[in-house]
């Protein structure tokens, strides 16, 4: 098959296979493998040509494959509370039972943690380091309770990047090539730009993008935004979506986009198809979430301080005023009819601000919103009946608003 005929979807699958096969192969050859948190400064790992696997991606795949309970039961058996993050429970269990139908991954020789998505990952990665007796490279990103990031926090991060480079040099026995870092930084920025441009095409009505696809492409944004493959994928995806948009096509061939909503929070992986089909049944397209921006990690090439700042301004690490403004912007830019909030049992950092954000966004924009109970990978915390009722309620409110001509 000629490369030009490859669709982005096919390429996505190829890259996923390549990513995991590469890591398994490396391990088999005795090369070190790392595990890292999703929004990590991958630029540093990429510069050193490290094989990095992302447990959050892996846990999500296990959840989507409906085999989470095998791992969750084991984790709870060894003392993990059912109340902590289900990704963590699955991943900690995987270190004991290292086989999943969804995908096998090699156990790590070093673990890398960046806490900009939550403090939970700090605890989770500590446990990995202690249990597997491997070194931990940790980047602490202080919570930004002020609207803007304080300078001393940026300085602190920059210092940690330098310490992490030293730690990675010691671990790999390689000298860190700053020229190469510059190249990786450039490529990473370019990939992020395509990712952002692609997801921004959903601003058009109808949106050429089905938001649930975004959940799938995101996995590659996590693990390949600093290399040529990732860059190529997101450019291709953009071009496809652009062509779709130019042709006036909506998200699905079998149904029309009637409502445009935002999904707040992580997907419900074990119930992905239920959550998707229920929305589609009512003509609801999830056109955006907070994720497009989360992986739009942008800075000036060769500016390590700028890169430090870029890694601490993630939505989850910023204050409520910022979060509210950001959501309001999404409502306007994406011409949203409603917001669906996922009260995710796994993610306390998202949950305990969600009520207030929801009230404020409703007040600022006037669009209806609803919330449902679920979990990113624990199938037990979701009720299909509750979900459908809430979605239906949202539709009724959106209809009322449309009828009122707003």
């Amino acid at each position: 098959m000629e490369e030009t005929k490859l669709t982005s979807k096919q390429f996505l699958n190829e890259l996923t296979a390549k990513h995991y096969d590469g890591a398994l192969q490396a391990k088999a050859e005795g090369k070190p493998v790392a595990w890292a948190v999703s929004i990590s400064p991958q630029e540093l790992f990429e510069t050193l040509d490290m094989h990095v696997v992302y447990p959050e991606n892996h846990a999500a795949a296990i959840g989507a494959r409906k085999e989470a309970m095998k791992f969750i039961d084991h984790a709870e058996g060894i003392g993990y509370s059912a109340d902590i993050c289900s990704y963590a429970r699955i991943n900690m269990a995987y270190t004991d039972i290292p086989h999943a139908e969804a995908q096998d991954i090699p156990l790590p020789d070093v673990v890398l943690c960046s806490a900009n998505i939550c403090t939970t990952v700090m605890k989770w990665w500590e446990n990995l380091a202690k249990k597997l007796r491997v070194p931990l490279v940790f980047i602490d990103t202080p919570f930004n309770h002020t609207y803007e990031v304080p300078d001393h926090a940026v300085e602190y991060l920059r210092g940690q990047f330098e310490s992490a480079i030293k730690q990675l040099e010691d671990f790999s026995g390689k000298r860190f090539d700053f020229d190469k870092l510059g190249e990786v930084m450039k490529l990473s920025n370019a990939t992020c730009q395509w990712w952002k441009a692609a997801t921004d095409l959903a601003q058009f009505t109808p949106s050429p993008l089905n938001g649930f696809d975004m959940f799938n492409y995101m996995a590659i944004m996590v693990c390949m935004r600093g290399n040529a493959d990732g860059h190529k994928l997101f450019k291709l995806w953009y071009e496809e979506l652009l062509a779709k948009k130019e042709a006036g096509l909506g998200p699905w061939s079998s149904a029309e986009e009637k409502y445009r909503i935002m999904w707040d929070g992580i997907a419900c992986w074990p119930h992905l198809s239920t959550t998707f089909k229920t929305l589609k049944k009512y003509g609801i397209n999830m056109v955006t979430s907070t994720y497009p921006e989360s992986w739009n990690v942008r800075y000036e090439t060769n500016d390590l301080t700028g890169m430090a700042r870029a890694y601490t301004v993630n939505y989850a690490n910023r204050n409520l005023d910022f979060g509210t403004d950001y959501l309001k912007k999404l409502v306007d830019q994406f011409n949203l009819d409603g917001v669906l909030y996922h009260s995710n049992r796994s993610c306390k950092l998202m949950d305990f601000r969600q009520y207030e954000v929801r009230r404020r966004v409703e007040a600022m924009t006037g669009i209806p919103t609803t919330m449902f109970d679920g979990d990113q990978t624990d199938p037990r915390s979701f009720s299909e009946a509750q979900y459908e009722t809430r979605v239906q309620g949202l539709v009724e409110m959106m209809d009322k608003r449309k009828a009122a001509g707003r």
Binding site: D73, G77, S381, S383
Partner: protein, 261 residues
């Protein structure tokens, strides 16, 4: 004569043991703490044994009602009593699973039949008898009918919710989409078994596994638990009275130890 009394949340149990450590009589009354259930059970047991209250040399009370019951010589927990009761009835047992109305327990015994570790469910009702009661209600059958019903199943309906309220709506929608009550009943048993198995894993399971409490009368439940644990599970004889029997053993042992001193 040595008396053991177990006052639970929904039933009262009594056991009598003679000075040769032989079980003489047991009685179970389905009225728990705060009722006259314990008096009825005592009357029944005394009648069966042909003795009066005055013949009791030492008595031990256990169960949730143990703290408020004042007429016994000593009170100890139902965990220790279940351990003693099972060790008496089934020597060599190493793991006990007791599923009661409000809580479920797993008790680990050493080779001498002494309790060395235990686990109990958290506040949530999943994995307890209460969960089965809710399921029986949704299925429109009695709690005692669940076992027969489940044994007619041809597959297991998955009930994934941990929350009893969610599970209830899950089951209702499954029945609405045509699942048979038999398959749902089996699903409920598997669901409770999974929760209990999780608790067992935290404590560590060793054979022989013995099940006590009223839920042990549910043969299908015993089989489901056995599957989840990948280990044979034996239902204790006189399963509802095991705590009371253990209390009578404790009464016997305490009395003998004191006499020796």
């Amino acid at each position: 004569m040595f008396l053991g009394i177990d006052i639970g949340s929904s039933s009262s149990k009594v056991a009598l043991m003679n000075d040769k450590k032989e079980l003489v009589a047991t009685a179970v009354v389905n009225k728990g703490t705060g009722t006259d259930g314990v008096h009825s059970a005592l009357e029944q047991a005394f009648l069966k044994a042909g003795i009066t209250k005055e013949d009791v040399q030492f008595s031990v009370v256990t169960g949730y009602g143990r703290v408020t019951y004042k007429d016994a010589d000593k009170q100890i927990t139902e965990l220790t009593c279940h351990a003693k009761g099972v060790a008496y009835l089934i020597p060599g047992a190493r793991t006990i699973v007791d599923i009661g109305g409000q809580d479920a327990k797993v008790i680990k015994l050493n080779e001498k039949g002494e309790m060395i570790n235990f686990g109990m469910n958290e506040k949530c009702a999943a994995g307890t008898g209460r969960f089965l009661e809710v399921m029986a209600r949704v299925l429109g059958c009695g709690l005692g009918d669940l076992s027969d019903l489940a044994q007619k199943s041809d597959k297991t309906v998955s009930i994934s919710s941990v929350c009893t309220v969610f599970a209830e709506s899950e089951v209702i929608s499954q029945l609405a989409t045509g699942e048979t009550p038999a398959n749902v009943a089996r699903g409920a048993h598997v669901s409770v078994s999974k929760r209990v198995a999780g608790m067992c894993n935290r404590v560590g399971v060793e054979p022989t596994v013995v099940m006590t409490g009223g839920v042990a009368l549910n043969a299908d439940m015993v089989r489901c638990l056995s599957n989840e644990l990948s280990s044979p599970v034996t239902a204790a004889p006189n399963c509802q009275a095991v705590g009371a029997i253990g209390a009578s053993v404790a009464a016997y042992e305490t009395f003998m130890a004191r006499r020796e001193q």
